[in-house]
Symmetry: C3
Subunit: 373 residues, 3 copies
């Protein structure tokens, strides 16, 4: 009844690293620095059907931070309205249905980290939520097929989703009564020749409260008498909304994938040392190829990412203007083991109160050994 | 040989909450505030018989604090003196046998949190201990029957118990050589018509050391020359003793349950900003009904709680004078899923050095979704 | 495919403790003080072959610190070059192959803690690493035999090992690009009468960075112009190298075991309040006897340990000059449960910036109850 499975990812990011000062907090704690060999993820999943209409999934991670702390990733349960599982109510901490790459498991993703552009919407992709998923039977089957044939699908996060979530990202209590609302529509089309492609749109909106703010960082508010005044930006509420589109041509054998999103949110302003409500935009494009070499698989890939905007959950809603190009490959000698090697070149400007003028460029080679158990 | 099971409780406590400043630290971190959806418990149990006479039970929780930290709940092993399991020595971290509701699993309890009156004896109900349990075969069978028929029994914590525990509550090292001593006697009577009721008494005594004390909070001691002097209350030893009685008329289908305890312990005194040795008292009464609706069960309940005394393990041995009325129901559509909704009205005065005059009253609706796996 | 197993150790170290100020940070948090009953280890292991040539092993511990925190012990995977498993590449966090007692599981060790002399090389014995192990088939079989017959072997960490590891000990990021290199050669000989004995040598070398340094503790460096100057010792790099020899005459029924190592590393100097590069040396000798009493086993043992040198991973690379004698026994009434009782007398001088003149002597009786699941 209960299934225990998981995966682990060990990395070495220090090879030919030209600039250890170029970091990416959201991507990987060892993207910058010279931190040696490290684990990015050690996930153990407990899951199963407890009843014809009740499913649960609990997944802690044992590789948190740079010191292998334990943190909770998923803990949710699905209540099926009908026995054909078309309608589900999901309660708990789970991925917020915004973006394809966000839904796709890191166990399957080609590149080592999720792209900054979409992933900056939701740290760790997750939040506490109540969401309704609708997935017609034929779409359930296609999602399953994409997983069974190891085509790196997202799994079933609904053809249609509508939900409410706390809004302060996973493992954080809410800070206001406002709940974020999210909706998503995605459809996996199958052509006559068997090729599958997926197209989706998604949006969310809510009020985010900035909690990690350096001393002296202010925000402008309108006082009771209509006058503008400056107050500490800590605990301030901000519009937080995004709209995104996704397109995935699954690698059979040639793959192409792109996502883009625009929105608004809090962002640090270096000129005034304030946090302001600012627009944001960004996306990525990725090409890949699935080579079958006897029992081995080799998947070369290329990805370009661009993001301009704040990262609301980082210190001072850190301001970003970044581009990154990655080229690499994934090698699967068997289903239990995978090796990824990639070369990344990035131009990352990220400013906060401590480092208000911080542009870093550089390149590095990244290695990852993964086991699936 | 090894069994893996567990349960998880997701809550929403913000509905019609009239006073977010009314908190209950011991009950639930999201009882006050506007913290949104949250997990109260995510428990995974590893247990089993390793040998005819050796049993083990390890239970971590993945929903600690408001950020889903991991903490150890149980980790104990039972050594049976005889193969009929009448006599057992339990070693490890486990529930201290004081009170019926404390012994009853949160998986089974009707109300969302344990009552303040008895539970204030032992944060998280547990401690490191060595305890001997004696349970005659007929009592073992009745305890089992109460669980198998889902009558919300406590499980087998002995008909008679005698043990020693560190005394600083679970996951804290002891602070003195003194060990707390606990004893308990409980008996489940079965009437001719099958109705079961249980009556118990229990007591513990020891020396507790206050470790969470604000700066400036003092305590009176008698110096070497017999003179009274004031010293910091941090690290002070206090008498810590309670005596309690329990009565449970199991819901077949009407249920009634009450417990009361009196004792002595450290308690903050707002007038003098000191911690003092003070008496404490309190209890609760609960009524419930077990409705069978086809395959569903619906259990309406009502509970009244009152407590006057200190909570030794909270900051400054915080002083309490509280009353709470709860009315709600538990709905079990199947054995895997439960929903609890309740309305609570409380009048809570709780004083410490930071808030020496702190009376909060208010009401809230509380929701809990639980899965059992 | 996946196996879940583990063990737990509960201790009481306060019996007839003559000097609670005598501590051993590396051994056991409750070696000193009066901390009452405590858990030293609660280990749950997830392991198994995922493929003919892929093995994994993940082991968290639920008894970290004095408050039962969770920490990651092992997380590694073995990639076999050949299907006879003679050559393996191990990636991940695992024991660094230095010393026999370090490799031997705490589940099997007679004495409660590892000896200071060898274990001071590597806190928690582990690090992130890539290591190649070579074990001929006959040696594989002997290692297996030592485990199956419960002769307290080390398991298979290779007849020959060569690897690279971060060097800052487990659950810490590396602090420099330098990797430590380790190599080990061990061989279990079997005599005509069936007696097995093992002899091994091992060495490692690298650059260690001191990160836990009190304010004001300095180190001497040579400036650009060749002049000596004093700078803070925090973040300084130090030579860190050891060479060790091991000999184990397995208890069939009489056992004898000894290890010794010499080396160099950072060490606190009380006279100058600096950290300096200093030599280190130390070892232990142990005798034991394996008594079969019906289905019970009783193993009396005696151990003497001596260590002079720094412990690089402790505050200020704390300076040690210690001796300890232990005499005790392990009793195994069945395979699920073990009890160890020992008397320890120690003379421990350990100096750091806060306690620069700190010699502690004393004795204590130590009890441990262990279950194996």
């Amino acid at each position: 009844k209960m299934k225990i499975s998981g995966y682990a990812q060990m990395r070495y990011n220090d090879l030919y690293k030209t600039n250890p000062d170029m970091e990416c907090e959201q991507c990987d704690g060892t993207y910058g620095g010279n931190d040696g060999m490290s684990f990015r993820r050690i996930r153990i999943k407990f899951s199963g059907y407890l009843h014809e209409r009740v499913y649960f999934y609990i997944q802690p991670d044992f590789a948190g931070g740079n010191s292998n702390n334990v943190s909770l990733k998923d803990a949710y349960f699905d209540l099926m309205f009908t026995s054909d599982r078309r309608w589900r109510l999901r309660l708990g901490q789970s991925k917020v249905p915004f973006g394809f790459e966000n839904m796709q498991s890191s166990q399957n993703r080609l590149s080592l980290d999720r792209n900054d552009a979409i992933n900056s919407a939701l740290k760790n992709e997750r939040d506490m939520m109540a969401v309704v998923y609708y997935t017609p039977t034929i779409v359930q089957e296609r999602f399953k097929k994409l997983q069974n044939q190891q085509l790196k699908g997202s799994g079933n996060y609904g053809m249609f989703a509508l939900g409410a979530f706390n809004g302060q990202t996973a493992n954080n209590a809410d800070e206001n009564l406002n709940k974020h609302i999210v909706t998503r529509l995605t459809y996996p089309f199958e052509l006559a020749n068997g090729q599958i492609f997926e197209a989706g749109i998604q949006a969310y909106a809510g009020q985010y409260v900035t909690t990690k703010v350096s001393e002296g960082v202010m925000a402008e508010v309108t006082g009771e008498n209509g006058q503008k005044e400056m107050v500490s930006a800590e605990g301030m509420e901000w519009d937080d909304a995004r709209l995104g589109a996704s397109f995935i041509w699954y690698a059979m054998p040639f793959g192409f994938q792109t996502e883009y999103n625009v929105g608004v949110g809090p962002e640090y302003d270096p000129a005034t040392n304030t946090i302001q409500r600012k627009p944001l935009k960004g996306g990525y494009a990725q090409m890949s190829y699935r080579l079958e070499l006897g029992q081995h698989f080799l998947l070369p890939f290329w990805r370009y990412t661009n993001y301009e905007g704040g990262k609301k959950f980082e210190t001072d809603a850190r301001s970003y203007d970044m581009q990154e190009i990655e080229v690499g490959f994934e090698w699967q000698p068997n289903q239990a083991f995978e090796l990824v090697a990639l070369y990344a070149y990035a131009d990352r400007t990220y400013n906060d109160s401590l480092n208000p003028d911080n542009r870093q460029t550089g390149s590095l080679i990244r290695l990852q050994a993964q086991i699936n158990f």
